[in-house]
C-alpha cells in the first residue's frame, strides 16, 4: 500500500495525545457531574441516538412471551391505542405487560422505586430524602406482606405473574433502540419487573388519594387559634350541602354558622405540634400554601334526561399531571369474558376507568378519613424496643433500612419501627404511630374488583364488583345500556371508639380501646341507584347529607363549587347530549364567583370608600367581568388575585407567629408560613358575619378591620399586583397569561416537559387548575350507552413515553382546548382497517 513516510513522532505528542485520550476515555466511561458516561450515551448504535428508531410504531412486529398459551394479536389504532385480542385472560395480562413496557417502561420503574424508596439507586444521593420518606411510610413493606398472602394460582396471583412475564419478556428482548431515553440519560439499565410491583402501585395510589395529615395541621391550628374555632374552620360537615347521595333538594343548602373567635396562641402546644409535623409530615415546604383545589368530577344522566334516550356517563379524574401521563389507554379483549376499553395504570392489569359493551364506570376520590395517629409510650425514647399497650409492654417490630447509591454503595441506614397499628416515628419528645387503611388492605381484592367491573353487564354488577375493594375509597359512578345509573362511595371506612367517634385528633396509644372497632357496613355507604332527579354527580364533596346520616366519614371536605356547577348544569338541561357533557368538562364558570363577586362589589360601593380611585378602577373592571375563566378573558385574573389576597388577609391568625415562623422556615424575613388554610367554602360562611373578629388583621393593632374593609383592601392590592406584573389592564391580563398547566416530565427536565399551557381552568371551575399548574384533568371521558356503546376521551400527553415520538404529547393541544377524541372500539381484530390501523404486533408463545 503506497504511503507518505513520516518523521518519527515526538514523545511530547505521544504524551499529550495520551493525556487527551485518557480524558476522553474517562468521560466516555464515567459519569461527570450530571452527565452520563458519554461513550455509551453518544454511541450511534447502542446509545441515545438509537432511541429514534423506536420512536414510532413499526407497521408490523413480532415478539415472544414465555407462558403465553396462544398467539395474541395487538392492533394499534391511529391514536396509538393497543387493542389486545387474546384467547384467555392470562394471555391478555401478559400482552398488556408487554405493551405497557414497550411504551412506558421508565415510568413503571420510577413509580415502583418511588414506593420502594430506591430512587437513589437510579438517580443518586439527591433522591435520598424522598427514599427515606417512602421507607418511613413503609408502603413497600406492607405491599410485600399483602402480596405474600395472595395465592399464586388465584386469578389475582395469575394476573400479576402473567403481567410481570410480559414486562420481562420485553426487557429481555430489548435492542439498544428499545431502551427508553431516560435510561440513557441516567446511564442505567431497566430493572426486571416483579409481580409484587403491582401491589406497590396500589399502595402509591393510596398515598396519592387517601393519605391525610389533617390531624397534624389541625393540631397546629388548634394551638394557634383554639379548638372551638378549628372545629368550624375545618368542619366535619360542609356548611354548603350538595351531597353525592341525592337528598331530595333541588338546590344547595347553606348551613352557615357564626365562626367562633380566634383564641390566643398556645406556644407550648404549638411547639409540640410543630415537632410532630417535622417528624411525620411531608416537608413543610411541600405543603400547599393555600387551599387544595384539585379533585375529580363524574356525572351520569338517565335516558329520560338525555337527548338520545340513552344513559350517558362522564368521567373526569383530576390528578398530578406528568409526562408521560399516569394513564395509558388500552382495549382488552378475551372472547366471552372481557371486552373493556379505557385507561389503565402502567404497572397494573386492568381498565381503571372505562367501559365495555354494556356498562361504563368511572371514579372520583371519596376523601374519607381513613388514617389516625396515636401517641405511643415507649421503653427507651432514643432506641425503643417496646411500647405500652393496656398496661403491658409489647415488642416493637423494627427493621433496618439501607439506602444505596447508583453504584450500589450504601449511603445511609435508618431504623424503622412499627406497632400493631402501623409505622411509628419520633416526633420531638414523643413517638407517634399511624393506622391507615391503605397499609391494611390487600392488592388481591383490588385486582378482583377491577376484573369483575371490567366484565360487568349492569350497574349492579359494577357495584357488586367493587364490594371487596378497600382503599383508596372511591365514588364509583356507573351507567349501563339498560338505562340505569348508580353511584356508591366504596372502600373500607373505619369505626372509631365510641368515646371519640371522629378521627380528627391524636389518640392515646396506650389503650387498645382507642383502636378501630371494625368497618362500616355496606348499607351505610353513600349510594344511589336511578334517583328520581334523573342524574348523579360527584366532585369530592361530602358524600352524604349529615341530616340524612350524621355518621362521621371525614372532615374538611373539599369545596362544593364543582359539585354545585355540575348540578346546576344538569338541572338546567333536560336533554343532555354527549357533546354537552364534553363542554361541561371545561365549563369556564364557577359557582364560587356567584358568592364572592357580589361581596367585592358591595364592599367597593360603600360610600366610605368613595375617594379611592384605585379601588374604583378595580371595581369597574370586576363589574365588567362576565364571571368566566376563558383563556381570553382579561378580568378573571383580577378576581383570582383578589381571592388570594382575601385568604391571605383573612387567615393571618393561622400564620406561624413571626419569630417562630422565621426560625422554623429557616428563612428570617420571609412571609410567615400559614400552617393551615380553611377552604373558600368556610370563607363564604365567614362572609355572612361582617363584624367577625377573623376579619381583623392582628398586625394592625390600632385598627379593627371588618369584612368590607378586608374585601376592599384585597381588591385594591390585587389590582396593584396585577398592574405591577402585567402592566395596564388589557390583553396582558388575559387569563392565559396568568394561569397555566405545567406538565412536568418525571425527571422534571424542562426540555422534556410541556409548560405554560393555556387552559380554561381556575381553582373552582369544573376543570380545576392548581396554583402551580401541576394538577388537573388527567383523563376526560364521555360514554354514550346506546345499543352500540360509543365514547370520546383524551388525556394530556400521549401513549408513548419516548420524548422523540410523535405520540409523546400528541393529545396535548386538543386537551388544552377541551376537545375529545372519538375512541375506536373494534369488536374484532380485523375491524381496524386502512387509516384506522397504525401497527400490528403479534405476540407468540416462547418455544
Amino acid at each position: 500500500m503506497p504511503f507518505s513516510p513520516s518523521r518519527p513522532q515526538s514523545p511530547f505528542t505521544t504524551v499529550a495525545a495520551a493525556l487527551v485520550l485518557g480524558g476522553a476515555l474517562f468521560v466516555g466511561a464515567k459519569p461527570v457531574g450530571s452527565l452520563p458516561p458519554l461513550g455509551r450515551f453518544l454511541d450511534p448504535v447502542h446509545g441515545v441516538w438509537a432511541v429514534a428508531a423506536q420512536a414510532e410504531l413499526p407497521a408490523q412486529s413480532t415478539a415472544r412471551i414465555p407462558g403465553l398459551s396462544a398467539p395474541v394479536d395487538v392492533r394499534y389504532d391511529d391514536r396509538g391505542v393497543p387493542h389486545v385480542f387474546a384467547k384467555n385472560t392470562d394471555d391478555v395480562f401478559r400482552a398488556l405487560g408487554y405493551v405497557h413496557a414497550r411504551d412506558r417502561l421508565f415510568e413503571m420503574e420510577m413509580q415502583t422505586r418511588a414506593v420502594a424508596g430506591t430512587l437513589s439507586e437510579l438517580a443518586g444521593a439527591r433522591a435520598l430524602p424522598l427514599d427515606r420518606q417512602a421507607r418511613a411510610q413503609g408502603l413497600a413493606w406492607y405491599a410485600e406482606q399483602s402480596f405474600a398472602k395472595i395465592d399464586p394460582k388465584s386469578p389475582a396471583g395469575r394476573a400479576m405473574q402473567g403481567y410481570a412475564d410480559g414486562v420481562n419478556a420485553y426487557i429481555d428482548q430489548m435492542a439498544p433502540a428499545d431502551v427508553p431515553f431516560e435510561y440513557h440519560l441516567l446511564g442505567t439499565a431497566p430493572m426486571r419487573w416483579k409481580p409484587v410491583y403491582t401491589a406497590y402501585l396500589q399502595a402509591r395510589m393510596g398515598l396519592t388519594l387517601a393519605y391525610s395529615e389533617g390531624e397534624l395541621q389541625r393540631a397546629e391550628a388548634e394551638a394557634l387559634v383554639g379548638k372551638a374555632a378549628v372545629a368550624q374552620l375545618f368542619p366535619e360537615n360542609a356548611p354548603i350541602q350538595e351531597p353525592i347521595q341525592p337528598n331530595g333538594q333541588k338546590a344547595p343548602r347553606y348551613d352557615y354558622q357564626k365562626i367562633a373567635a380566634p383564641m390566643p396562641t398556645d406556644s407550648a402546644k404549638l411547639a409540640l405540634a410543630l415537632g410532630l409535623e417535622h417528624a411525620v409530615t411531608l416537608a413543610a415546604a411541600d405543603r400547599p400554601d393555600g387551599e387544595v383545589v384539585v379533585g375529580s368530577n363524574n356525572w351520569a344522566v338517565s335516558p329520560r334526561r338525555s337527548a338520545n334516550g340513552h344513559a350517558l356517563l362522564a368521567g373526569d379524574p383530576h390528578l398530578s399531571l406528568s409526562l408521560p401521563s399516569v394513564w395509558y389507554e388500552a382495549h382488552l379483549v378475551v372472547p366471552d369474558t372481557l371486552d373493556a376499553y379505557g385507561v389503565t395504570f402502567a404497572g397494573s392489569q386492568l381498565v381503571a376507568i372505562g367501559f365495555n359493551r354494556d356498562v361504563a364506570w368511572t371514579e372520583t376520590n371519596t376523601g374519607a378519613d381513613v388514617a389516625d395517629y396515636y401517641v405511643e409510650t415507649v421503653d427507651d425514647a432514643a432506641h425503643p424496643t417496646k411500647y405500652m399497650l393496656d398496661g403491658a409492654w409489647k415488642p416493637l417490630v423494627s427493621r433496618v433500612e439501607t439506602y444505596h447509591g447508583k453504584k450500589g454503595e450504601a449511603l445511609v441506614t435508618d431504623t424503622v419501627y412499627q406497632t400493631h397499628r402501623g409505622p411509628m416515628v419520633h416526633a420531638g419528645a414523643r413517638w407517634i404511630s399511624r393506622r391507615w387503611i391503605v397499609t391494611e388492605t390487600s392488592v388481591g381484592p383490588v385486582i378482583e374488583a377491577f376484573r369483575n367491573a371490567n366484565g360487568a353487564k349492569t350497574v349492579n354488577d359494577v357495584l357488586a364488583a367493587w364490594e371487596p375493594y378497600a382503599a383508596p375509597a372511591q365514588n364509583v359512578l356507573t351507567a349501563d345500556r339498560g338505562g340505569h345509573i348508580a353511584i356508591r362511595s366504596t372502600g373500607k371506612f373505619p369505626i372509631r371508639p365510641a368515646v371519640h367517634p371522629t378521627g380528627d385528633l391524636l389518640y392515646d396509644g396506650t389503650s387498645s380501646d382507642n383502636d378501630w372497632k371494625g368497618y362500616r357496613p355496606l348499607a351505610e355507604y353513600p349510594q344511589a341507584i336511578d334517583p328520581a332527579q334523573g342524574y348523579l354527580a360527584s366532585a369530592n364533596q361530602q358524600p352524604k347529607d349529615p341530616k340524612v346520616d350524621p355518621t362521621y366519614m371525614g372532615w374538611d371536605w373539599p369545596t362544593p363549587w364543582r359539585a354545585m356547577r355540575i348540578n346546576a348544569l344538569l338541572r338546567a338541561d333536560s336533554a343532555v347530549t354527549p357533546d354537552a357533557m364534553r363542554r361541561y368538562q371545561t365549563d369556564p364558570k364557577s359557582e364560587q364567583v356567584a358568592i364572592f363577586l357580589p361581596a367585592f362589589l358591595h364592599a367597593a360601593d360603600d360610600p366610605a370608600a368613595a375617594g379611592d380611585s384605585t379601588l374604583a378602577r378595580a371595581a369597574r373592571l370586576l363589574r365588567e367581568w362576565d364571571g368566566t375563566f376563558t383563556k381570553e378573558n382579561d378580568r378573571a385574573a383580577l378576581y383570582d388575585a383578589a381571592m388570594n389576597e382575601l385568604a391571605r388577609r383573612t387567615w393571618d391568625e393561622l400564620e406561624m407567629p413571626a419569630l417562630a415562623g422565621a426560625a422554623a422556615n429557616g428563612n428570617a424575613g420571609a412571609r410567615p408560613r400559614r400552617l393551615a388554610t380553611p377552604n373558600t367554602m368556610v370563607l363564604a360562611e365567614l362572609l355572612q358575619d361582617p363584624r367577625s373578629p377573623w376579619w381583623d388583621v392582628r398586625a394592625t393593632t390600632d385598627v379593627v378591620e371588618d369584612r368590607d374593609t378586608i374585601l376592599r383592601q384585597s381588591l385594591t392590592a390585587a389590582y396593584g399586583a396585577l398592574l405591577k406584573q402585567y402592566g395596564a389592564p388589557g390583553a396582558t391580563w388575559k387569563w392565559s397569561n396568568v394561569r397555566h398547566s405545567n406538565i412536568w416530565h418525571l425527571l422534571r427536565i424542562p426540555a422534556l416537559s410541556r409548560l405554560d399551557i393555556a387552559v380554561p381552568s381556575a381553582p373552582a371551575t369544573l376543570s380545576p387548575a392548581s396554583g402551580d399548574g401541576t394538577h388537573g384533568a388527567s383523563w376526560r371521558m364521555v360514554v354514550d350507552l346506546g345499543p352500540d356503546v360509543t365514547a370520546m376521551g383524551i388525556y394530556p400527553g400521549g401513549q408513548s413515553g419516548n420524548p422523540a415520538s410523535s405520540r409523546y404529547d400528541d393529545r396535548l393541544a386538543k386537551w388544552a382546548n377541551g376537545q375529545l377524541d372519538s375512541l375506536r372500539f373494534p369488536r374484532r381484530a380485523g375491524d381496524l382497517t386502512g387509516g384506522q390501523l397504525r401497527s400490528v404486533l403479534t405476540l407468540t408463545p416462547e418455544r
Binding site: S6, Q9, T14, V20, L42, D43, A52, L752
Partner: protein, 115 residues
C-alpha cells in the same frame, strides 16, 4: 487505493462500534496507528474516518426514525443547540480515534510497523 483504504478504515470504525460499542473506536484507532505508523497524517486520517463512520451511523439512525426531533430533545436537555449535539457526537469519535492512533503510533516498537 488511498480512497479505498479510507473507506475500509471508515467501515472498520463503523463495524467496531456496532460490535463493541464506543470502545471499538479507540481500539480501531490504535490498530490503525500501529498499522499506518510510518505514514504522514495517519492519525488525522483515523480521526477523520471515525467521524465519517459515526456520521454514517447517525444517518442510519435518521433513516430509522425522527433523528432531527431527537436531536432537538437532546439539545434541550443538554441546553445546547441541536447542531451541537451532532457536533459533540462526531467530534467525540474523532477525538478518540485521533488520540488513540497517536498514542499507538508513539509507543509501538518500530519493528512492528507495517506499511
Amino acid at each position: 487505493m488511498r480512497t479505498l483504504r479510507f473507506v475500509l478504515v471508515i467501515a472498520a470504525f463503523a463495524a467496531a462500534t456496532a460490535a463493541l460499542g464506543w470502545w471499538g473506536v479507540p481500539l480501531v484507532g490504535a490498530a490503525f496507528g500501529v498499522i499506518a505508523a510510518r505514514e504522514r497524517g495517519s492519525a488525522a486520517l483515523a480521526g477523520l474516518a471515525a467521524m465519517v463512520a459515526w456520521t454514517a451511523l447517525l444517518l442510519v439512525d435518521a433513516a430509522r426514525g425522527p433523528l432531527g426531533h431527537l436531536a432537538s430533545v437532546l439539545a434541550g436537555v443538554l441546553t445546547i443547540r441541536p447542531i451541537g449535539v451532532y457536533g459533540v457526537t462526531i467530534a467525540f469519535a474523532g477525538l478518540l480515534a485521533l488520540t488513540s492512533a497517536l498514542v499507538a503510533r508513539g509507543v509501538a516498537p518500530r519493528g512492528s510497523r507495517l506499511g
